[in-house]
Assembly symmetry: C2
Homo-oligomer: 354 residues x 2
């Protein structure tokens, strides 16, 4: 059984002390360049891998960030994860990723474990279930910096990086109305979560501002996933009373709506305008792409890391916790090139009134 090589093994081989080897490996200026290189070469030859457990224990820094997301089979989250990973690597941090599967209890367990692993900071997007506040109190008590992104708990005094959900939703629906659409449905997310409530509020605001009634039978709440979109729109299809446009609270919801429409009739899929909050990677490749409210997803990941690292540094420097920062990113309405907007061509079965 191969004994694992330690600092001291390298030191003995090189007739140095383990402190010198330790410093050489970390490019400490104490050590001459020649020695550093010799040490590194020897370490590589011997197949040395530093024991991060020992390093973290003695340095009291794990150089590790915990990242907790509600789900991963979703472009939005996989993109954020990628951006966080990239940004963290640049700064010399590793990421420990945990998935709560939209369950508060798993979220709690994961955070507990990350705390026990002594991560230097936490990046969290909460599950759609009512969160366990006690675990966040615990994070506070242990003095571990935490930054929420996208989905947060609003009143716990942690920093957050979010998107201007209400504004984005309102602008998207405004745009539809300006294009002449009047009959606009909203397949909403869960109202348990802030982003669900805000996006819906933006939709309703836009209608009211233009003096349009909110069509209660066309506002359907549920999850944030494709199945909800599919089921919800099937219900609408069954009534026979169809909207001219659909505002979907997430891109997966929009996919579900699209599939329901498409299966019903290709003509409909040409004529019912879908607008989604958020984008999916493939949208632009489709013949009938959705309109999308673009969230700066990668930037959200980057900024979250940035805010978190700043808090970690402040802590290191012994500065008292500052007020939490709340970064709100702007969205942008994306019209694919040559988008076959219903008002601009003659094909739609359901021409918008107006």
């Amino acid at each position: 059984m191969a004994k694992r090589v330690r600092l001291i093994d390298i030191a003995e081989r090189l007739n140095l002390t383990k402190v010198s080897v330790s410093k050489a490996l970390r490019d400490h200026p104490d050590i001459s360049k020649e020695t550093r290189e010799l040490v590194k070469k020897t370490a590589a030859e011997m197949g040395y891998t530093p024991n991060l457990l020992a390093r973290s224990l003695s340095s009291r820094r794990s150089n590790t960030l915990g990242l907790v997301v509600p789900k991963i089979a979703h472009t939005f989250f996989s993109t954020v994860i990628d951006a966080v990973q990239e940004e963290a690597t640049k700064a010399g941090y590793g990421i420990v990723l945990a998935v709560s599967s939209e369950r508060a209890e798993l979220e709690r367990q994961h955070i507990e474990r990350l705390l026990a692993m002594r991560v230097d900071g936490l990046l969290v997007s909460v599950s759609k279930e009512q969160p366990d506040r006690a675990i966040y109190e615990h994070v506070r008590q242990m003095n571990v910096p935490l930054v929420f992104f996208d989905r947060r708990i609003e009143d716990m005094g942690f920093s957050s990086v979010t998107v201007a959900d209400r504004d984005g939703a309102r602008l998207a629906v405004d745009y539809l109305i300006e294009q002449g659409y009047r009959r606009i449905a909203h397949i909403a997310g869960s109202s348990e979560v802030e982003i669900g409530r805000e996006r819906r509020a933006g939709y309703e605001e836009a209608l009211r501002r233009h003096g349009l009634p909110v069509p209660a039978h066309w506002v359907i709440e549920g999850g944030f996933d494709e199945q909800h979109g599919y089921d919800a729109f099937r219900r609408i299809l069954q009534t026979g009373d169809l909207p001219e446009a659909v505002f979907a609270a997430t891109f997966p919801i929009g996919l579900g709506v699209y599939r329901a429409i498409c299966e019903h009739s290709v003509a409909l899929c040409r004529s019912i305008q879908i607008v989604t909050f958020g984008e999916g990677g493939l949208n632009e490749f489709y013949t009938y792409p959705h309109l999308c409210v673009r969230q700066p997803t990668r930037e959200m990941g980057r900024r979250a890391v940035e805010v978190l690292l700043a808090e970690i540094e402040a802590l290191d420097a012994g500065r008292e916790a500052e007020a939490p920062r709340h970064v709100v990113l702007e969205t942008e309405l994306v019209l694919p090139p040559d988008y076959p907007l219903a008002p601009l061509d003659g094909t739609p079965a359901h021409t918008p009134a107006g």
Copy 2:
């Protein structure tokens, strides 16, 4: 700044020694039940979270498994992750998840870090790029158990849990042929990866066995994702020469194919039979569900953990490394209830010959 509470803090408060507290917390039989409960209660009150770094360092076991997957925005992998997480938790292990984004270099970095974190074992599904074999040699040299699942490196002597890819593909295509289909396209994955080669081989075998030629222009290799399916089938649509059925190497590929077909015409989406290797969660909800080769996805996760834990135990017990185990799981062809199979109703535009 809240000082973190340690074993010794609890010990002092309770007038015990830290060893006793340590044992009590881990339910060691040395300690009386009463004391154990008192200790636990006090620990909870004081907000104690064990320092896993210290625990792992001194016990030489991290009770942590590293899990490396090529991508996460894909039902197959998110399901495996879920199953692995569940199974590991039962056995008292935590999971550190890492995503290689189909890149060999990221895969290498992640494994390096997991090794440095001293995970007790590794579960890996390789990226579609040519893997860096050196890192796996390193894993071997450090004597860390590793089990590949789904996508493996065949000749490195590690255990694996896979699916009978070739058989599954062959049976699916056999079935189509028995139903009277003759013109069957294959949107294949990458031939860089074993599962891509095997699934294609199964498809070709089925055709040959029935004396049918392999239609080279209808076999299109690429990635494993939706975009490849969409692009590939668009190319076929452009030729005007359409198959009666499509065998897709993965479920996402099938989705892309379906979307391309659907956008073209609803009639086509009723009549071109799609069969996918693997399932996606939503398939059953759709009006025109695909036929699917069911992979026992959760079982794959469970078995992978099982095999890995067995190897870890063997190592603990000082037994010499046994021969690698190769678990191959069977697949099953899934026909949704009341599936509108083309040969069974009169609607298809392209009735299968035969």
